[in-house]
Symmetry: C2
Subunit: 193 residues, 2 copies
Amino acid sequence: MGQVVMYSSVSVDGFIADENDEPGPLFDWLTSGDVPLDDSGFLKVSQASHDYIRPYWDEIGVTIAGRHVFDLTDGWEGTPPSGIEHVVVVTHRPPPEGWDSSAPFHFVDGVEAAVAKAQELAGDRWVEVASGDVGGQVLAAGLVDEVRMDVVPVVLGSGKRYFGSVDAQHLLEDPDAVIQGDRVLHLRYRVRR
Amino acid sequence: MGQVVMYSSVSVDGFIADENDEPGPLFDWLTSGDVPLDDSGFLKVSQASHDYIRPYWDEIGVTIAGRHVFDLTDGWEGTPPSGIEHVVVVTHRPPPEGWDSSAPFHFVDGVEAAVAKAQELAGDRWVEVASGDVGGQVLAAGLVDEVRMDVVPVVLGSGKRYFGSVDAQHLLEDPDAVIQGDRVLHLRYRVRR
């Protein structure tokens, strides 16, 4: 089975957005470089970030997201983000009215069931868990293999936390990747078992 | 004048201790290595950490601390930490009863006054501001030149925050030092002006 990776851009004080879900400068590094990251023409990063991010994105088959992000993005209008085959949404509520049930989105109640469903759909490819409340729950359940933090040099002071509402200690291994981009420092940690 | 540096060990989610001021594994890297950091016989780190930390410690002449840390340590029993000449304590209250007024401790009301006093005492040497509430206030006042975070690979989930109660955005420069020790990643950021 592919591994489960928790991932996001994050401020040096551990926030992934402000209280209103605004990312501030957290995504600036994704659009301010010279090297295209995909065919969108929008995402352009430094060479170092490209060489780190691109192979990772190619590994991801399925993303697990919370209902909050699903609603914020209007369910990505039924089309998963570039390169992703399926999105598993952790939610207690049914899909929105008029939702196209043939879209590759799967609505699952609870994080354990979400990870199981995502791994089944992903096969040998990797499962990405969005950081924040859902990611924190997956970590607390012992189901995250790897934590990737793209650390942006800004103090946000308050907002939505990378690890959500995790409130217990979890040890990680020393980072096995430490890569400087432009306005981002890519850190990759295995979760200690 | 010497620069003002904010410094501490910190978890990957931005905490410098738990709610009861217990550091958990945040200081393990300071005692688990092979290379002595001072004459205490207690502090031993990796060679990489030694080569980064030792010259920095040699620069610091004065430390600014909050009253909470002062009380927690019983005022360091009147003797500043190794290598420090003076401690400036930010407090609205007088020193504890029986305090030796000849000890090199200075009780100052407010962070601007504390930084001014510390720089006067430090001369060309550097001023260190403990992270947490006082450090966050000094950062918010625009008086921090450099932020040093010794990032330990652990998620704490809750506790005392590195940047205290800062609640506005502050941009940093890209890190000008990124050094891997053993159970610590040393990051050094200039504050963007």
